[in-house]
């Protein structure tokens, strides 16, 4: 199935590329033919004034001839497509084609006149037609060259359109891969430290060891599959944070104090997955872990100004602590993900002063479905 679908696409593309842009659309064909209306009126006038034909005879000739020549001129598309305008010899090729086309037109006029002259009211038209041959030839060449110009305009339009489409596609792809690259992963050192705690607890406190195993499993399970989703409800992200904190609580014990303040009604808004968890993890890694006597983490989520979600993650820390490896990388990653997802519709603010570290986020408050899916351009 896959293979056939894969093969069908180039074929479709080929057919599409062979199809005439005017013939393939009824609306465009109608527009094109209506453009020939004034042209046929001019030709009719020329037949009458220069050719000396009566108005009736001129009309009987000019209208069908214009209709025929309108279709003949469409053939210019094929030569325009195969000969790029930049080619130095292109004008010579088109001129040759124009001469051939107008000669064919004269032949058609002759045939038409012969047929029409069998009607009693138009008798003698087959002899009179010879008078307009030069006129036909001249206007035929001119009209054909006009058609060539028209087709070049169409082609360049199409090319511009195609290029734009490709660019949009490329932008979408770039953005998608950007987001993929930034997707946060659970910090492996967190897991190693947890396993070490469990290892310590197995002999001293087996019940707590089991509890920690279960909490760690719950946390890891929640993170699974999140990477595939572009956004999740805030409630789900908070569940994940609670699972994470319940593990850290065993590890740090009384050293970790938690304060949470979530306004009701915000849980249904959507956020990119694993956006807040790294901020809380950061607060513990660089806050609590740097403080011998322990510290606190404060998480606050509010419905800010209309349609804004205001999120604060704050912790205390030791300003004199040695810099930890990877300091700032987690924050940078969150900032980049916010930029890639919301462009300029979000605010990200980091402040460290007087032993307090605060990250403030302001995101558009969006429900599932109404938010733009960040993966499409």
């Amino acid at each position: 199935m896959e293979r056939r679908a894969g093969n069908a696409r180039p074929v479709l593309k080929l057919i599409k590329s062979l199809m005439h842009p005017i013939l393939s659309s009824f609306r465009r064909l109608l527009l094109y033919l209506s453009g020939w209306g004034p042209l046929s009126a001019i030709l009719l006038y020329l037949f009458a004034s220069i050719g000396g034909l009566s108005w009736g005879r001129a009309a009987a000739l000019a209208l069908p001839l214009c209709l025929v020549y309108a279709f003949v001129c469409l053939s210019a598309w094929y030569s325009c497509r195969s000969i790029p305008l930049e080619n130095s010899g292109s004008w010579l090729a088109h001129l040759t084609a124009a001469i051939v086309a107008s000669l064919l037109w004269i032949l058609a006029a002759r045939g038409l006149a012969a047929t029409l002259s069998s009607f009693a009211s138009l008798a003698g038209l087959d002899r009179q037609i010879a008078r307009v041959y030069p006129l036909l030839f001249g206007s035929g060449v001119l009209l054909y060259l006009l058609a060539v110009a028209l087709h070049y305009v169409l082609l360049s339009n199409e090319a511009a359109h195609e290029a734009e489409k490709r660019e949009v596609e490329a932008r979408g792809l770039a953005r998608e891969s950007e987001l993929k690259a930034l997707k946060t992963q659970v910090n492996p050192h967190f897991i190693f430290n947890c396993l070490n705690s469990i290892s310590a607890l197995t002999s001293s406190d087996p019940a707590t060891a089991r509890e920690m195993c279960i909490r760690l499993a719950e946390f890891l399970r929640k993170t699974l599959g999140l990477g595939e989703r572009a956004q999740i409800p805030l409630g789900e992200e908070l569940d994940l944070i609670h699972a994470y904190l319940s593990v850290e609580q065993i590890r740090f014990g009384a050293r970790l104090r938690l304060e949470e303040n979530t306004e009701p009604g915000v849980l249904g808004f959507v956020v990119p997955p694993l956006l807040l968890q790294p901020l809380v993890e950061n607060a513990i890694r660089h806050g609590i872990a740097s403080l011998a006597e322990g510290g606190w983490v404060r998480l606050e989520i509010k419905n800010g100004t209309p349609q804004r979600l205001s999120i604060t993650v704050e912790n205390n820390f030791d300003p004199e602590a040695p810099r930890r490896r990877g300091a700032g990388i987690g924050l940078k990653n969150v900032r980049q993900r916010i930029d890639a997802t919301y462009r300029n519709r979000a605010r990200f603010d980091v402040r460290a002063e007087a032993g307090r570290f605060r990250v403030q986020l302001e995101l558009p408050a969006e429900k599932a479905g109404e938010a733009p899916v960040p993966y499409s351009a």
Partner: protein, 253 residues
């Protein structure tokens, strides 16, 4: 070392449960005596200086001072076994000639093997030089952000931004910061190598100065100059030092 003497051991880890597992694994070794447990680097430096243990179990990421800074301050006559969840510090641990590097979590057999190696090592001096210990406190390819000094059992942390200048004094360097001088066992060249050359310039065989502190230069004698710092301190500038200084001040201006 006498046969009946116990191996006096200190455990340093900020996590209660991490210390607990080491304690538990040491239980079956009667020759080990745990003389102290510490939850941060300051405590570790103080207690090790006081108790002079034979063996140290040392975590790396801890509050106040990290494991390598602790090691730099306590010197090289203690056998050290690192215990950490991070495998990326192993190379630096090797450079300071640590006895072993345990990755958390570890099994009892692995722990016992580390302990066996430690026993062979105890009593022998670590071949790591103060320079090697100092170099290991930095991640490879990075400049120091702070310098730690020990004054008796007290530890001072000097952020490099607060370091005014350093003066060589035999085997030591005197670090001038905020009107005080701190002595540290280190050559001035190795200190120079640890600091960002865009901020610290060797103006003299014996002096390294923080560029931001230099207020002006005055000629002094035939070949030399004097650098005058913001607080009025006058430091000699050699001819080579003047060239280096001019190059930097010229770039900054």
């Amino acid at each position: 070392m006498k046969q009946d003497a116990k191996i006096r051991t200190v455990i340093v880890d900020d996590e209660d449960l991490a210390r607990q597992i080491i304690r538990e694994m040491l239980k079956s070794h009667a020759e080990i005596e745990i003389v102290a447990e510490c939850a941060n680097g300051f405590e570790a430096v103080r207690l090790v200086s006081e108790l002079k243990p034979d063996l140290l179990f040392l975590d790396i990421q801890m509050p106040k001072l990290d494991g390598f800074e602790v090691l730099e301050l306590i010197g090289n006559d203690i056998a050290v076994i690192f215990a950490t969840a991070y495998d990326e510090h192993a190379l630096r641990a090797f450079e300071v000639h640590a006895v072993d590097y345990l990755l958390k979590p570890f099994r009892a057999e692995r722990f016992d093997a580390a302990l066996a190696r430690a026993k062979e090592r105890i009593g022998k001096k670590l071949p790591a030089s103060p320079e090697q210990l100092s170099a290991a406190t930095r991640e490879p390819g990075q400049y120091a952000e702070r310098v730690v000094v020990k004054d008796g059992t007290r530890v001072h942390i000097i952020p490099v931004t607060k370091l005014d200048y350093a003066e060589a004094q035999d085997d030591y360097v005197a670090l001038a910061s905020q009107g005080r001088k701190h002595l540290r066992q280190q050559t001035i060249s190795s200190l120079e190598a640890a600091l960002d050359p865009r901020n610290f310039v060797r103006i003299h065989r014996s002096y390294l100065v923080n560029l931001e502190r230099v207020a002006r230069l005055e000629p002094y004698g035939k070949d030399t100059h004097i650098a005058i710092l913001g607080d009025g301190t006058r430091l000699p500038v050699s001819r080579a030092g003047l060239g280096r200084l001019k190059q930097f001040l010229g770039e900054k201006a």
